[in-house]
Amino acid sequence: MAKILAVDDSASMRQMVCFTLKGAGHDVIEASDGVEALKLAQGQSVDLVLSDVNMPNMDGITLCKNLRQLATYKFTPILMLTTESTGDKKMEGKSAGATGWIVKPFNPDQLLTTIKKVLG
């Protein structure tokens, strides 16, 4: 069972993601923006970070860059939840150190299938 940090400013998305992950037996920590996520991340290590891209205060790309600076997050899988399936957003994520992405809209099953790729 993995420990997952889920970051999204939208409460409904966060709820859906958390509910799905918890239902699959994972341990979930929630944050509503990059700043909060970074603060939570500093105190502990997690097995996976799922982050939205567009968020107030600190967006997902910046969060990703910052996490990669932390020793404990050097190799941690970081997946971006994005509606922007255009190449440049993905490249931006990749160059910030993101592992991959999940394109919104996705349903709980797609989410679980995708995170399987990086947990294990």
Partner: protein, 705 residues
């Protein structure tokens, strides 16, 4: 595992409405010439979240529409498109459109898409008007999630060969080749061979321990969907050389030759042994795929959620928990005391009870606070209103808001919105003059409407002030005579004249405009406010403007009451409505017009009613001068109510009679007293009507006499 997405719908709706409000507010405060980046970002994020959420939760109509809105906003955000008035207008209409789509969906109806379609084509024509953004307009709608790899559903006849050479920094992105191979093994039931190559391995001194120098050749010998392999390598395709070739009859040689090569060059051969994957896991994936087919289906299962919810700040909840904690301590203290109680401990019992009372009151206050919300929830809809109305009328108007953080009960808030809309429309329509008229009157061309809210002695006061022409006294007077509200000889104070506008069927507007005068008059405003136990006053000065003041109780659930006794019954008057209470003096009471009693209160005549007669309560005949007259005021009229005795004052929790029994004239509700008896709360505003006495009737009767 199947998850019912409808459980998140309520949160999605609430959050989307909030997002739409934020968009609207952002658009309204945006300076078209030089839009603030943060404002545009906020608007964009709101649209983006609504799109993401509606797509996820199966509201594809909303998602599709929001997509074009978002695309346009993204162009503005990235500086590819300049903001202009027509885009702004279009965006504002779209906010309305999205809101109504969501409302229809929430109500469980099929949304009316005609407006959305129309708006969407307008967006598309803007988006296509220059070539630059055309590319981004076409993306995003698909949810396949992979445009990096092209869709290819071919099934390889015999299998595949994958040549995988990652960049050395691959691990730093969190991608892990062994995980990818394990997944490959899952989809091909372990029918694969992996050969690792050390060609790129540097000497030990030149090695960076965090880099990946290995590369792999993978032979898959099962006929699977090519797309599944693409998916596994999707995230690394830009950081690696990935060549996937289909195995034909003789393609086996590809791997063989590599194997041969690696042996030839006498580098040690390492095979990554792939662990067998549990059959169960594969089965569960297949199952998931099947349940995932139709996201829209989920929607139909959900019944339209009716329950409304409120957001409460953590502080309020914390203080509540704290309060309950104290209550528990007091309870256990009293419990202990009760176990071996003797008379010597009465003192401690009393202290404990006092503590309990204190706790209860605090708890009650805290709970009430939960229902309290800042009035900005109501105020926030007015900038848009003012903007729209003033544009329709070609007037220039500034709206000034203050006291937005003043809190009031949610129920009161929900009901005060409409009356306020009406008052503000009136101020703009009838109050503020056209720019040229204002200029010639020596005023600034731009009129000002001010909204203010503050707390005052247990009430919330809302002021609506404009600097327009003010109420036209002569015209109101004349109109009132025409409508038969007053007769020509009546001379009224300014205040009384202004009050006439709240009479039913009164309108001074010369023409019924599109905005006000749609049959909903000020009388309705007044009635709505009165139904909230509130009051409204108007003052005005010609040429300077008008000012409406609404006073409302902070909450409808609790009332400061004055308990009175009539015979055996106890009635409650709202404390706010009581002007004074006096000892009954027979000489001060006069009979007017045969039936009605009037009290001469200093230089005023006040009608008097007996509560026992009104509510048919049997009382013992006592001396007149032992009775008490409670003078109450409602809608500017005073009235004396005869009761037997004044009891204490206390806060009472209002229970609705209508809900639990039926509507009773003259009674606004009931409460349960400390001893368990039910006491009725007198509807002071209904008394004059019920008793058939009012100042006006008395005044005319008095004049006649």
């Amino acid at each position: 595992m199947s998850i019912d997405l409808s459980q998140f719908h309520q949160v999605f709706y609430e959050e989307s409405y909030e997002g739409l409000d934020a968009m609207e507010q952002g658009l309204l405060e945006m300076d078209i010439e030089a839009p603030d980046d943060e404002v545009i970002n906020t608007i964009f994020r709101a649209a983006h979240s609504i799109k993401g959420g509606s797509g996820t939760f199966g509201f594809n109509q909303v998602a599709e529409f929001t997509h074009v809105v978002e695309t346009l906003l993204d162009e503005v955000r990235s500086g590819h498109r300049a903001m202009n008035q027509s885009i702004m207008d279009l965006l504002l209409i779209s906010v309305d459109c999205m809101r109504s789509l969501l409302e229809e969906l929430q109500a469980g109806d099929d949304p009316d898409l005609s407006q959305a379609k129309d708006l969407k084509s307008q967006f598309e024509s803007i988006l296509n008007s220059d070539s630059e953004p055309a590319e981004s307009a076409s993306d995003g709608g698909d949810n396949s999630g992979g445009d990096a790899v092209e869709d290819n559903n071919d099934t390889g006849g015999k299998g595949y060969h994958v040549h995988f050479v990652p960049e050395v920094t691959l691990l730093q992105t969190g991608n892990e080749p062994t995980r990818m191979f394990r997944q490959l093994a899952e989809i091909c039931d372990n029918q694969m061979e992996v050969v690792c190559s050390f060609d790129r391995m540097p000497s030990l001194t030149g090695m960076n321990p965090e880099h990946c120098y290995l590369s792999w050749d993978i032979k898959i010998t099962k006929a699977i969907d090519r797309h599944e392999i693409d998916e596994i390598f999707e995230w690394v395709i830009d950081d690696a050389e990935v060549i996937i070739t289909e195995l034909s009859g003789d393609a086996d040689s590809a791997v063989n030759s590599i194997e041969a090569k690696s042996i030839d060059s006498s580098t040690p051969q390492v095979e990554t042994v792939v662990e067998p994957v549990e059959q169960k896991e594969i089965a569960s994936i297949v199952e998931q795929k099947e349940t995932a087919k139709d996201p829209v289906k989920v929607k139909t299962k959900s019944s339209p959620p009716e329950s409304s919810s409120i957001r409460v700040s953590i502080d309020k909840v914390d203080s509540l928990i704290n309060m309950v904690g104290e209550l528990v301590i007091t309870q256990s203290m009293l419990g202990q005391l009760g176990q071996n109680f003797d008379i010597s401990r009465v003192q401690r019992l009393q202290e404990g009870l006092a503590q309990l009372e204190h706790n209860t009151r605090e708890l009650q206050e805290s709970v009430m606070k939960i229902r309290m919300m800042p009035i900005s929830f109501v105020f926030s809809r007015f900038p848009r209103l003012v903007r729209d109305v003033s544009r329709t009328l070609n007037k220039k108007i500034d709206l000034v808001l203050s006291g937005e953080n003043t809190e009031l009960d949610k129920t009161v808030m929900e009901k005060i919105g409409d009356p306020m809309v009406h008052l503000i429309r009136n101020s703009i329509d009838h109050g503020i003059e056209m720019p040229d008229v204002r200029a010639s009157a020596g005023k600034s061309e731009t009129g000002t409407v001010e909204l203010n809210a503050f707390h005052q002695s247990g009430n919330i006061v809302i002021e609506i002030k404009d600097d327009g022409a003010g109420l036209n006294k002569e015209r109101i007077h004349q109109k009132a005579i025409e409508n038969g509200l007053i007769d020509e000889s009546t001379i009224l104070s300014d205040e009384k004249i202004f009050d006439l506008i709240f009479q039913p069927g009164f309108s001074t507007a010369d023409a019924v405009s599109d905005l006000s005068g749609r049959g909903v008059g000020m009388d309705v405003v007044k009635r709505n406010i009165a139904s909230l136990n509130g009051s409204i006053e108007v003052s005005s000065e010609t040429g300077m403007g008008s000012r409406f003041v609404i006073r409302l109780p902070l909450t409808l659930a609790i009332l400061d009451g004055q308990l009175v006794r009539v015979g055996e019954e106890i009635f409650i008057f709202p404390l706010v409505s009581i002007v004074e209470s006096i000892q009954m003096d027979d000489t001060a009471i006069n009979k007017v017009g045969g039936h009605s009693d009037v009290l001469q209160l200093r230089d005023e005549y006040v009608p008097v009613v007996k509560l026992n007669e009104l509510f048919s309560v049997n009382i013992e005949e006592t001396a007149v001068d032992e009775k008490i007259i409670v003078v109450v005021e409602t809608e500017g009229e005073k009235m004396g109510v005869v009761v037997d005795e004044l009891l204490g004052q206390q806060q009472v929790v209002i229970k609705s009679l209508e809900e639990n029994f039926k509507k009773v004239e003259g009674i606004s509700g009931a409460t349960i007293l400390g001893d368990g008896t039910v006491a009725l709360i007198v509807d002071v505003s209904g008394l004059p009507k019920m008793s058939g006495t009012s100042v006006k009737q008395i005044e005319s009767a008095h004049k006649a006499a």
